[in-house]
């Protein structure tokens, strides 16, 4: 059956949400009309541009750029701190509005949604419905969106990227040669900084050239990703719109430290702090992990990662922390660090698990301790019980993550 998919993308999401909230609370200036950015806290070294206004874009300010560099380009730049709870509220409002049209709404990221409109448009064409959604977002919620319409998620997403802001575009399969193929290949979804140089070497510069390239040649150079890109260039994508939570493949938390960490003691405290957060999340989902990975970034911004498969899956903070410590010790060469991450994967349910011959009462007692600590933290706040090691250390007892329910960007449709 022919499907009709909409992709709704909020224009300069963080910034326009901040602007609308400020206007609602009596601000005299619309932040969208002046050079402004939403940026992290520079004191704790999270100082990068998260979102920018269109006037800021004219100063060549880019998302991900450090704030001091953005200020050099535009001395009058207005910098706002991010307020993630507001963004979740705005994102929920958008999802609720979309659900008035179809129950099949998938939140792809905090500011993007897919919606399957097939069979859900009465008395109106799909284009009219899309236009109505766009207008209602502006009138009722105060921020503008781009809406892309097509027969699958990939084309709908490509359509919403065409011209911004506050626009509606169609990209049906018969429009691909005219609208999609002339675009540079870097505009294609999943054509990233590592793929592009390979495609350029193959003399592929436009999406059309990629669509007409030999799939065998692409597979030879880019493995299975080459075939995916070739399919995308030809507008082939059969992924369904999946409302609700996706199956979790891994859980991870990372943090940038406010100071350079040059000794093992502080590094271990950061690993413990991250493991506390990530293990608590793991237990909250009722899961156990088989693989532990530790990532670090030094002051030269070099990135290192090391992982190991555990003998038995676990969700015990101490057990995972000891493994993280071991991985870190094997990997670290003594250079000052500014970023730590702990990631758990190969997740399994915690109803049944393989026990180890070496498991004893001590491990079981640790698990019941974890459970008690989680209960206390959930009912009285994450700071209700902390480990003594963090006292006067200047390191937060639980770190990583901005908000528990903050939806992250995904790389799969």
């Amino acid at each position: 059956m022919k499907r009709t998919i909409l992709h709704v993308d909020v224009n300069s999401a963080y910034l326009s949400w901040e602007a609308v909230y400020a206007l609602q609370h009596g601000a005299r200036v619309d932040l969208r009309t002046i050079p402004s950015v939403v940026g992290g806290d520079e004191k704790s070294r999270h100082g990068i541009v998260l979102a920018k206004s269109i006037p800021a874009k004219k100063f060549n300010i880019k998302t991900g750029e450090v704030l001091w560099s953005a200020r050099m380009k535009c001395p009058n730049l207005v910098v706002l701190p991010p307020s993630y709870s507001l963004y979740i509220q705005c994102s929920n409002a958008l999802v609720n509005l979309l659900k008035e049209y179809s129950p099949l709404v998938e939140r792809y990221s905090i500011d993007e949604c897919f919606m399957d409109l097939t069979g859900h448009c009465r008395n109106k064409s799909f284009e009219e419905t899309a236009w109505e959604i766009k207008e209602r977002c502006r009138e009722e919620l105060g921020f503008t969106v781009n809406v892309g319409i097509s027969s699958n998620k990939l084309l709908a997403k490509m359509a919403s990227e065409f011209e911004k802001p506050d626009k509606m575009h169609t990209l049906y399969p018969h429009e691909i040669p005219k609208k999609l193929w002339p675009l540079p290949v870097r505009e294609l979804f999943l054509a990233g900084p590592r793929t592009i140089p390979v495609l350029y070497k193959l003399n592929i510069f436009t999406i059309g050239q990629l669509a007409h390239a030999s799939p065998a040649l692409l597979k030879q150079h880019l493995k299975s990703h080459g075939i995916t890109l070739w399919k995308y260039a030809n507008g082939i994508d059969n992924s369904p719109v999946t409302p609700g939570e996706r199956i979790i493949k891994g859980i991870g938390n990372s943090t940038t430290t406010p100071f350079d960490v040059d000794n093992k003691k502080e590094a271990f405290l950061y690993l413990l702090s991250l493991t506390e957060t990530v293990a608590m999340r793991l237990r909250d989902k009722g899961m156990m992990a088989r693989v532990v990975a530790v990532t670090i970034r030094d002051t030269q911004l070099s990135f290192f990662s090391h992982q190991r498969k555990l003998a038995v899956p676990s969700n015990n903070t101490d057990y995972l922390y000891n493994e993280a410590k071991r991985l870190f010790t094997e990997m670290w060469q003594g250079n000052p660090l500014r970023h730590f991450g702990v990631h758990l994967s190969e997740l399994t349910g915690n109803e049944f698990c393989q026990t180890s011959l070496f498991d004893n009462d001590f491990v079981l007692r640790r698990q019941s301790l974890d459970k008690s600590i989680d209960t206390i933290r959930l009912s009285h706040g994450s700071g209700a019980v902390i480990r003594g090691a963090f006292l006067h250390s200047g390191i937060p007892p639980l770190c990583g993550g901005v908000h528990e329910s903050f939806p992250n960007m995904r790389s799969l449709l």
Partner: protein, 87 residues
Amino acid sequence: MKVIMRSVDMICCTSKEGVITPIKFRITDENKEYKIIRIDKILSRDEEKLAGNRMLVFKVQSVINNCEWLFEMKYEFSTCKWFLYKI
């Protein structure tokens, strides 16, 4: 009208149907003294949900110092705060 957006202390009535009606509020003047303003007439009552934040917006009329004034009041559901929005 000029945007003021100042939070105020409000006495309001919530009917058994759940309809909120502002009655009178107090606000500090430039001498930091409280001034009580009674709302004489509600001209319109709207709901906005800009940025997903629900607010009631009242266009109201009052007599202040023998002079009739039109102004707008806002009630924010998430914080239960009242604001003198525009005057």
